[in-house]
Symmetry: C2
DNA sequence: ATCGCGTGTGGCAGAGACTGCCACTTTAGG
DNA sequence: CCTAAAGTGGCAGTCTCTGCCACACGCGAT
């Protein structure tokens, strides 16, 4: 019996992901102890049992060992937002979409916390992290813009979307702090509660035709 | 007549700043034409008439030719915010502080616009830019936190301050877009108007327009 | 069993950003 | 004129990341 090429590719993808996860785990362990900038790619590769050349095949950049690929998660949030009822206040739709991400985003364990702590403690990592989240902005802004009445929708959509991403980031960063008892979802609610979008939350009086 | 060592240092600082400005101008010119990533430090240094070694003495990193040092501006915003009356709604204080920055921040000319366009069109620059603005967050958050009533002031302060920085960034980015007619200050007002902070303000009183 | 093919792997060389070190020049003050 | 301090640039080296190439392995087909 010959397994189909498709099945073979699936299998390959699975092993590839497991290797990625292993390397990332080893890397974060090293970073947590000695600092991201004081650990070379060569060391991480050696500790993970692969060559530096292969390391760069699994991770285009060193920072990706900590950050990962936010693309799929961004699509998830976007789809979640698209599925929200149009009558719902905009800000609440965004809150619900990010909340869904937290619910679906896998177990939030000690491992994630360690990654986040390495992330927030290294300047270059934080910047890359934010850059990746700007990718989310590009996914969400068109949808938000379509739901905004009145003029200047593009500008306003960008501000609102970026603010929602800020809420998400701050909530997760707060969650990773040692001693924090609340869950990510509670913290997300706390950050989203800081804002109200006057143009959309109260009454959709403005026309959109 | 011997000039004091202090005066000498001042003089040196002036010439140093002028060299910096010259190099930055040449660099942005090259970036605008060929893209930030496609221009090497060696080329910029040659075009500016200095060695690559000296380039790295003037600019610790290549990106600093575009971004500059936001530290002093951050202090300005912080001091401006500290001088605001405590009874003023928080969000308006922040708006006024950033507005003061725009008023004081020097001529907003075509040169600034070109720099901003290079900045927004290059992913690595965008992230670095935001990272520098996180420095502003560190300056502003303690002051904002002190003015927040209730629990969880630290978390809420971080969200609010980061949102205000987002407003500032989006406004400036929008201003740099070709065809935009409004002034940075008008755009800043437009972005800040997107939010209301329920915990602190009654109703935002629109004063302009 | 052997061949061919696709795929993963690693070594090698090199580009590019950035740093430490050192020798050289310039400048200002004695 | 001499000296000390500061700026400059060359050189070598580190580190991240990429392109190229040879090699090994698994697998279906002959």
């Amino acid at each position: 019996m010959t397994s189909s090429p498709a099945a073979r590719n699936v299998l390959r993808a699975i092993t590839r992901e497991s290797v990625r996860a292993h390397v990332a785990e080893v890397a974060i362990e090293l970073y947590a102890h000695r600092g991201f900038d004081n650990v070379t790619v060569e060391e991480v590769a050696a500790a993970a049992g692969i060559s530096t050349r292969s390391f760069h095949r699994y991770f285009p950049a060193k920072e990706d060992t900590v950050i990962g690929d936010p693309g799929p998660w961004g699509e998830f949030v976007r789809d979640e937002f698209a599925a929200r009822p149009a009558e719902e206040p905009l800000w609440r739709s965004l809150h619900a979409s990010f909340d869904a991400l937290l619910r679906a985003g896998g177990k939030q364990g000690e491992r994630q916390k360690r990654g986040l702590r390495v992330l927030t403690s290294t300047a270059s990592l934080r910047s890359r992290h934010i850059e990746k989240h700007l990718l989310w902005e590009g996914m969400l802004t068109p949808l938000v813009e379509a739901r905004l009445p009145g003029l200047d929708a593009a500008l306003r959509a960008r501000v609102i979307v970026q603010a929602s991403i800020v809420c998400f980031d701050v909530a997760l960063a707060a969650w990773a702090v040692a001693g924090e008892k609340r869950s990510p979802r509670e913290l997300l609610a706390a950050t989203f509660d800081q804002f109200d979008i006057p143009a959309t939350a109260g009454a959709p009086v403005r026309d959109e035709r």
